[in-house]
């Protein structure tokens, strides 16, 4: 089976499991957990930077997935995308709350790690992937603006700071990169 086929297969499994969760089937929630928890923790950790916080995020997200499974609409997109979006949102909420009280050393370490994570995330995309081809077609700093937002969960202001450009430029880069990406992947 190709990597794409595996991904499709998993997507469908999530949608079916969410439908079962909505009917009160706790085994279906467990099935999502068994399949996805390790990847979800990794995704949350890239944003919140600390493993124990990432686990808390995933724990809260699973409770939310269970309670909201009935509102998942398969006509709107994949079940797996829906599950990951819940974890990303919770991770972003956690980190935006916490950034009000930055711990100096940790903040510095996190700063360096985010850059590594972003490069790593791009590098890990399958060679055959359209996302990789289209991201690769973007000017490197514009690509970085998108990846810093998505992978590391940075805000416009943080992206501007990181890339050393005015806020307006960072916003414009993200917008134009999004539209270019959409066009390229169509």
């Amino acid at each position: 089976m190709t990597a794409d086929a595996v991904a499709t297969d998993r997507t469908d499994l999530c949608a079916a499991d969410l439908a079962a969760c909505a009917r009160g089937d706790r085994a279906a929630l467990r099935a999502i957990y068994e399949r996805e928890a390790a990847t979800l923790i990794a995704v949350a950790a890239r944003i919140v930077r600390r493993r124990e916080v990432a686990e808390e995020v995933v724990q809260e997200a699973f409770v939310q997935i269970w309670r909201r499974a009935g509102s998942f609409d398969p006509a709107l997109g994949s079940g797996r995308g829906w599950v990951f979006a819940i974890v990303r949102n919770r991770a972003l909420n956690a980190v935006r709350d916490e950034r009000h009280v930055p711990v100096e050393d940790e903040a510095l370490a996190a700063y360096a790690e985010a850059a590594t994570d972003v490069d790593d995330a791009f590098g890990r995309l399958a060679a055959s992937s359209a996302l990789r081809r289209c991201l690769g077609g973007l000017e490197p700093r514009r690509r970085a603006s998108l990846l810093l937002a998505y992978v590391a969960g940075l805000s416009h202001g943080e992206i501007a700071e990181r890339l050393n450009v005015p806020l307006g430029t960072a916003k414009a880069w993200v917008r134009r990169s999004l539209l270019a990406l959409k066009e390229c992947m169509a």
């Binding site: 928890a37 990847t39 995933v58 997109g77 995309l125 993200v174 959409k182 992947m185």
Partner: protein
């Protein structure tokens, strides 16, 4: 940038998590009713998903599942949401057929119906259910486009019965909140929370009887209600109360 491109980019920024809180909230409000926009967001999620799927996995701690299972077994927290002072929101269960008929009869008042068939139906219902209370005022709340979005029946004892007329998927961590403006000096006063768009009975004992053309509105607020005791979120519906003639 064309309006379509603007929405596409906005959907992408939302999926990236880049919208500041106020814009994020306004966008979620549009998402609740705009399917094209919801499709655009889902398409972004699926387009970018590979970046997540390829993340090197981190094995969960052995007790993580037990914590999730424990939390899932706990009773739902809807009832525990802390409402504003002196306000007891209560989402009603599915109304009985007769109760539904009574609601309809309430709405028919003023339209003026007569005839033997109606009298017979009314007779049957009178036998079957207790006499309903008549609201002292009814407010029809409209969207900004003038489409009816909810009806609020206000009773003499201060109780209000809110009946949504549209489907609204309330985003997680948010609630609908019902407000009225008894007088401009006092400013808007919360009548209570509506955690989801379902028929909701709100008991607000402190409010004076509504005056003619008193303003009512429903806003989207953080779960637990507006933190400032004033509306902070976008207005979904608003309209004026009038005593039924």
């Amino acid at each position: 940038m064309s309006p379509r491109e603007t929405d596409l980019a906005l959907a992408g920024e939302y999926a990236l998590g880049l919208l500041p809180p106020a814009e994020h909230e306004a966008f979620e409000l549009r998402l609740a009713t705009d399917r094209t926009l919801a499709l655009a967001v889902a398409a972004w999620r699926d387009r970018l998903h590979e970046l997540d799927a390829a993340a090197p996995p981190i094995a969960p701690s052995p007790d993580l599942w037990a914590k999730i299972e424990g939390a899932v077994e706990a009773p739902p927290r809807v009832a525990a949401a802390s409402p504003p002072r002196s306000v007891r929101p209560q989402v009603e269960g599915r109304p009985s057929v007769f109760a539904g008929l009574w609601e309809n009869l309430t709405l028919w008042r003023g339209v003026g119906f007569a005839g033997a068939a109606a009298s017979i139906a009314l007779g049957l219902v009178l036998v079957a259910t207790p006499k309903p209370r008549a609201p002292i005022a009814i407010a029809v709340l409209l969207t900004s486009d003038g489409v009816p979005g909810a009806i609020v029946d206000i009773y003499a004892d201060g109780e209000a019965l809110v009946a949504p007329l549209q489907d609204v998927s309330v985003p997680d961590g948010r609630t609908l909140q019902v407000w009225t403006l008894p007088d401009v000096q006092r400013g808007p006063v919360s009548i209570g929370l509506m955690p989801r768009a379902a028929r909701t009975r709100l008991a607000s004992m402190e409010l004076p009887a509504p005056k003619p053309r008193q303003l009512y509105e429903i806003t989207l607020e953080p779960a637990g209600g507006s933190p400032t005791a004033r509306p902070t979120g976008p207005i979904l519906y608003k309209g004026y109360a009038e005593p039924p003639r």
